[in-house]
Amino acid sequence: MTTATLAPTRAGDTRAEDPRIGLAGTLRHVGALTRRNLMRIKADPESMFDAVLMPIVFTVLFVYVFGGAMSGNQDDYKQRLIPGLLGQTGMTLALAVGTGLNSDFQTGVMDRFRTLPIGRASVLLSKIVAETLRALISSAILLTFAFILGFELKTGVLELLAAVGLSLVFGMSIVWISMLLGMAMKSAQAVQGVSMLVLMPMQFGSSIFAPTETMPGWLQAFTKVNPLSALADAARGLLNGQGPIAHPVMVVLIWSAASTAIFAPLAVARFRKRT
């Protein structure tokens, strides 16, 4: 069965005549490429620093340095901060897709893939699968650490999973923007730099770290529309069992749909042109 593609394909070989790859083939290709992405992480463990250390550093830094000042006591602040950090995980890691894509184009690896009979979406899908796994690991580390520090899940596992899921849904919609960055920039470092420039104001200009009421009016205007605020609010509602849930979840979903509707066609068109 496997040798069919290897035999000379000139006449009568229906396998080569048929340009379609099929679902089974695509799954196999995405599987092989995902394995590659994971092997790359294994070979370069430092690339996991952001996923592993960021949640820990942020938690320690904010809970102990600013927590007391901001919420009066650290326990209240934990309950505020941890859901917010969980909410932004998807976006943080989605931004890494563009960096990976960029380095594949730069190193000629993409050229090799492009001469192989695989669907062009496979390379991309495998990146998304690997980043999703990274987001899950990052979320797990964040939660484990949070529980050790005394964070309380006031609802249930289902609500927790819903919060993680919402974060991933939003992350998916950011993947397209990351892809566009990855294809537009000249180097992986540049992609990473620009990603940070986008991420930082969005993180800190949101309700993740501090209540927005104390911010000046112009900043409040920004934090109100910032999807990371909605994500943090939704996650808080889901994990703490207090505050609205439906409204912020809707806002996040609308943002995700809008971002996907605008950027997915652009990213796919650009990707097709280059592959």
Partner: protein, 341 residues
């Protein structure tokens, strides 16, 4: 799609693995390809010979579906480069001019990945990876990340990667540039094995010697145009065969040696006292034997002899009457040619 008959224009001509008609490609104002026609018969090796910037890589990239031509048509394995890229990719293997291996993965993982992407079973991909690692002497380094490989090892890994699917048509863009002689021979052996197993090979090179070793046919291109085309023997005849270089034990005897050869009816010998070399153009084994016989018979002490294939530069000179446009391809050691009085 399946009902297409084998006819020119839709599938190319039967018996041709690669067929290129009027290929044109511009990069801005640079005409990388300026109307190239070329065919490679099934089961043969064609060497595409040309200096830097001739358009070799551009042509290979078009035939691999990596870039699109501005004009012209091409068929590979009967598939149209522009209209049937997916089918075409099932029939080709490419080793590009620049490495395209994943540096973070080990040699083995690189090959295994490509095997899986070519729809080999997990076991099949493992076996094929191990086989090719062995053949390219990479077994010992198989588990190391490719970034720790030397240039030659990376090149071999790249070559192995292009052979995994036993492609019907194999493109090799300067496969041996930068390799040491032993490794180069190893690569040549593998290319010949692929041909014996039924593959067709299109290889680009700057070395006449490589073309002579591997190719049935030669196409010489310069500035995007084909300037010569034919069998290896045919073109060699045009260029004038090989050059025999003799290094006498006593360089002072050089003029005397040249005169003796001239007396024996062997013409064209040149000497370069600075290098201590006598150079004699020869067209066959008999002539070689005669020259050695004459020199040996006269009792000249010979310290070394060597035959050398004309360089790309000399081929160009013979074909076009002018040297290659790019001085970078000129032979590193030029023989000072002093006509013998």
């Amino acid at each position: 799609m399946t009902g297409i008959a084998t006819a020119p224009n839709t599938r190319g001509t039967a018996g041709n693995a690669v067929e290129v008609h009027g290929m044109v490609k511009h990069f801005g104002t640079t005409k990388a390809l300026d109307g190239v026609d070329l065919t490679v018969r099934e089961g043969t090796v064609l060497a595409l010979l040309g200096p830097n910037g001739a358009g070799k890589t551009t042509l290979v990239r078009i035939l691999s579906t990596l870039i699109k031509p501005d004009a012209g048509t091409a068929f590979v394995g009967g598939y149209d480069v522009l209209r049937q890229p997916k089918q075409l990719r099932r029939t080709i293997g490419l080793t590009g001019q620049y490495a395209s291996v994943d540096e973070l993965l080990s040699g083995y993982e690189n090959l295994y990945l490509i095997g899986r992407l070519l729809d080999l079973s997990s076991r099949g991909a493992k076996a094929r990876a191990a086989e090719l690692l062995e053949r390219f002497s990479l077994t010992e380094a198989a588990k190391r990340p490719a970034k720790t490989y030397s240039g030659g090892m990376r090149r071999r890994l790249d070559l192995a990667a292009s052979m995994i699917g036993r492609p019907q048509v194999l493109y090799l863009d300067e496969p041996t540039t930068g390799l040491d002689p032993r490794t180069r021979n190893e690569v040549w052996d593998e290319v010949q094995r692929m041909v014996a197993e039924g593959s067709t090979v299109l290889l680009t090179t700057q070395y006449m010697e490589e073309a002579e070793q591997l190719a049935n046919e030669l196409t010489v291109i310069d500035r995007g145009k084909v300037i010569a085309n034919g069998g290896v023997a045919e073109l060699k005849a045009k260029v004038g065969g090989q050059i025999l270089q003799v290094r006498p034990a006593h360089p002072a005897e050089l003029p005397e040696m040249a005169r003796r050869l001239h007396e024996s009816g062997i013409t064209g010998a040149t000497i370069s006292p600075d290098d201590g070399l006598l150079a004699v153009p020869i067209t066959g084994e008999e002539q070689l034997t005669t020259v050695i016989g004459v020199l040996g018979g006269r009792g000249f002490a010979i310290a070394g002899i060597d035959t050398k294939v004309p360089s790309l530069d000399e081929v160009f000179l013979a074909i076009t009457g002018k040297p290659t446009a790019d001085p970078a391809t000129a032979p590193a050691i030029a023989l000072v040619k002093e006509p013998v009085a």
